[in-house]
């Protein structure tokens, strides 16, 4: 019997037990009231409200840089939405996904610049976008063909190879056409019936519309025959086939849809930066898209967008050493608070850490003045606060490198140890982490960004394995 929503089931009956997860997720108090209110309105009203709030963002800031971050975030979000179809719903580990993004960018570039022919090709933007997206969908179909027989990691290797082929092709094969390592420059801006999009804000709104439309379309597909087919294939391809689902066709369709979405993002990206360069479509970028999908919760539309936003904004914050330092120490502190229990032990670790630092600083300072002559690389209040706690040599590079290796070995040792020994080792290791951070990591911003993002992912996935908005998945029963 279906119970009406306003009458909760009696405590202890089957239905009450079955809904325990729901109650726990929702909790009580004001935040739960907001969640409940949101649940009462339909999904498209929710989408519209969130889109309207996001649309206000460029109006509230005067910084072109901030809007530019917004554009990159929306691009990553769109890409994550497309990847979610392939990976999150259909369960195909596609590591060549970014090639379709590049295909879209290069396709649009060639159809909207002076690159081809004597005076170039300058198609109307809409026409160029439609051509490129359709071509990408067909290409997706073609590259999806191996997926008919390959599963799991085998498919991953083959698609990774496709991704590399794309970068190699545009870099080396026909430099006259694709511009080789220099890429294609001088791409026309988007132009819709005479209305040219030239400002960062303009691109922000174009992308916002694209993202929202894709979210809406994907939501409708998810709850349709096609969406059920995709997820059934993810869950059990053999059972799906025996339940009348043409598995190969369904897989190819997923590849195709993912490719089309990625290519659409690519066309706008090319128009936005007025150029297409091979390095924009390499594997590290693929990892960011994956990070977005996984962090947000594989299989969730809103999760893909939220995850991409978190990844994009975090990476942007990490560009600035002082913000990066706040994030780094904040992450460590958060992990300690969550993992070190009871609080007396936590307090002891923190107190020992502070004392340990000052002691080390005093001892080393007494031995050699130059060994503590440097200043912490983290700027801002964090750097000032750590001035007489963390040791920074005048020439930090060598000691920093050695400390980095020691730190990694120490972490390996830490996870092997149990009980008191682990707690005791934690103190010098934390200090060592601070040392490595202040001497080396902060100085190598581009590498540190990747390491920190990885650390954030690990911490997040430990705390919530299904991702921010994902639902818990069971692998085997």
């Amino acid at each position: 019997m279906s119970t009406p929503n306003d009458a909760p089931p009696r405590i202890g009956v089957d239905e009450w037990v079955a809904r325990s997860g729901e109650r726990r997720d929702r909790g009580s108090g004001p935040s739960a009231a907001i969640v409940r209110a949101l649940e009462r309105v339909g999904w498209w009203q929710r989408l519209a409200v969130i889109a309207a709030i996001v649309a206000l963002f460029p109006l509230l800031t005067s910084s072109d840089y901030a809007v530019r971050v917004g554009v990159n975030t929306l691009l990553l979000a769109t890409l994550a939405l497309g990847l979610n179809v392939v990976v999150g719903w259909t369960g195909l580990l596609d590591l060549g996904y970014v090639a379709f993004y590049g295909f879209g960018a290069y396709g649009f570039a060639l159809l909207s610049s002076n690159q081809l022919g004597s005076s170039g090709i300058h198609l109307p933007s809409l026409l160029a976008i439609v051509i490129v997206v359709v071509a990408a969908a067909l290409l997706g179909l073609l590259l999806g063909l191996p997926s008919r027989r390959l599963q799991g990691d085998y498919l991953a290797i083959v698609t990774l190879f496709f991704g590399q082929i794309f970068v190699e092709t545009v870099t080396n094969v026909a430099p006259k056409v694709t511009g080789g390592p220099n890429g294609v420059v001088g791409i026309d801006p988007l132009n819709f019936f005479g209305l040219e999009v030239t400002t960062t804000r303009g691109y922000f709104y174009v992308l916002l519309i694209v993202t929202v439309v894709i979210m809406g379309a994907l939501h409708l597909i998810d709850s349709s025959r096609t969406g059920r087919g995709w997820r059934a294939v993810r869950e059990d391809p053999l059972a799906a086939a025996l339940m009348t689902i043409p598995v190969n066709k369904v897989k190819l369709l997923a590849f195709s849809v993912g490719a089309a979405v990625a290519a659409l993002a690519g066309t706008i990206f090319a128009a936005f930066q007025a150029g297409a360069y091979p390095t924009d479509f390499d594997t590290p970028f693929l990892i960011l898209v994956y990070a977005g999908v996984i962090l947000g919760g594989s299989g969730s539309i809103a999760g893909a967008v939220l995850g991409a936003t978190v990844v994009s904004v975090t990476l942007e914050l990490l560009r600035n050493p002082s913000q990066a330092a706040t994030l780094f120490y904040g992450l460590i502190l958060l992990t300690l608070v969550v993992r070190v229990r009871p609080w007396r032990k936590l307090g002891a670790v923190l107190a020992a850490l502070v004392a340990f630092g000052f002691a080390v600083h005093a001892v080393i300072g007494a031995i050699s003045a130059s060994a503590v002559a440097g200043h912490p690389r983290s700027g801002g209040w964090v750097g000032d606060a750590l001035g007489s706690w963390v040791v920074v040599p005048a020439d930090p590079k060598g000691p920093g490198n050695i400390a980095f290796v020691v730190l990694i070995l120490g972490l390996v040792a830490l996870v092997q140890l149990k009980g008191t020994a682990r707690t005791v080792l934690l103190v010098p290791l934390l200090y060592l982490a601070a040392f490595v951070w202040e001497t080396r990591l902060v100085a190598e911003a581009s590498i540190t960004r990747q390491i920190l993002l990885g650390a954030i992912l690990i911490v997040m996935m430990n705390a919530r394995p299904q991702g921010l908005l994902g639902s818990k998945r069971v692998e085997v029963l």
């Binding site: 019997m1 997820r231 059990d236 053999l238 069971v474």
Partner: protein, 264 residues
């Protein structure tokens, strides 16, 4: 026997030199309930895999309502009215109970992706029909798969309910022939008893022709119009339950040749 709905005609399946099924001929009449018995490794599940297209026969022919299905893709065979359940449950565990059933209507619906996005009248009508079918099929199991359970993930169901959901999902493919692989495995006596009634109802109320693999001889006795015994991929006996159960070849297949000494 009425007109045979499912026929296996001298079917052989060889993996290299190993003949998993050898020269097997079986006919199941429309509306009949036939049980397959035999020791582990006799080729019962392999036979199901052959009929549903997981394997293509090395030689011989398989027909449903006179139409040859040997060598067709599994989803085509399912679309022609052959559905099955699995001995080791293979539900779409991370989909809701209702979605599990709705997914199995894929072959009988035709709304394209763009029609679902634009919510064309056709797509909406199909979705309504699929919904109604799912609710009707789940209702077949009285209250066990009803109400709040519709929206629960399949993994949250009890073992017995998962077995029921497998049958419901097979029913949603609109089968004519239903292959049921060990429906009573892992069930308690009460549930086993229910399964016996359920299989009879599947034939009487839904008109399915049923081929069932079962080890529990009480269930076999309770449901079968006819019993077929397999060993080493070959048919060793066929007939009524009593005739097959007392057949010396069947006894030998289960117990071994008369070397055992009976206690006095």
């Amino acid at each position: 026997m009425t007109r045979p709905l499912l026929e296996l005609d001298h079917v052989t399946l060889a993996f290299g030199g190993l003949h998993a099924v050898e020269d097997l001929s079986i006919a199941v009449g429309e509306g009949e309930i036939v049980s397959l018995i035999g020791p582990n490794g006799a080729g019962k599940t392999t036979l199901f895999n052959l009929i549903t297209g997981v394997y293509a026969p090395t030689s011989g022919d398989i027909r449903v309502a006179g139409r040859s299905i040997a060598g067709l893709a599994p989803h085509r065979i399912a679309g022609l009215g052959v559905a099955r359940t699995f001995q080791t449950l293979r539900l779409f565990v991370n989909m809701s109970v209702k979605e599990n059933v709705m997914a199995a209507t894929y072959g009988h619906t035709s709304a394209r992706m763009w029609q679902s996005v634009l919510r064309t009248p056709k797509a909406r009508r199909e979705e309504r029909e699929v919904n109604a079918l799912a609710e009707e099929v789940l209702g077949f199991f009285s209250q066990r798969l009803m109400g709040y359970r519709w929206d629960q993930p399949a993994y949250s169901l009890s073992y017995a309910n998962r077995r029921r959901l497998e049958i419901a999902r097979a029913m949603a493919t609109r089968p004519r022939v239903l292959l049921i692989d060990e429906p009573a495995a892992g069930m308690n006596p009460q549930e086993t008893h229910e399964i016996t009634d359920l299989i009879a109802r599947l034939r009487d109320e839904r008109g399915y022709t049923i081929l069932a693999i079962e080890h529990d001889m009480h269930v076999v006795e309770g449901i079968s119009d006819r019993v077929i015994a397999l060993d080493h991929g070959q048919k060793i006996a066929e007939g009524s339950f009593e005739a097959v159960a007392t057949n010396p070849l069947v006894v030998e297949a289960y117990m071994g040749r008369g070397t055992a000494v009976t206690k006095g």
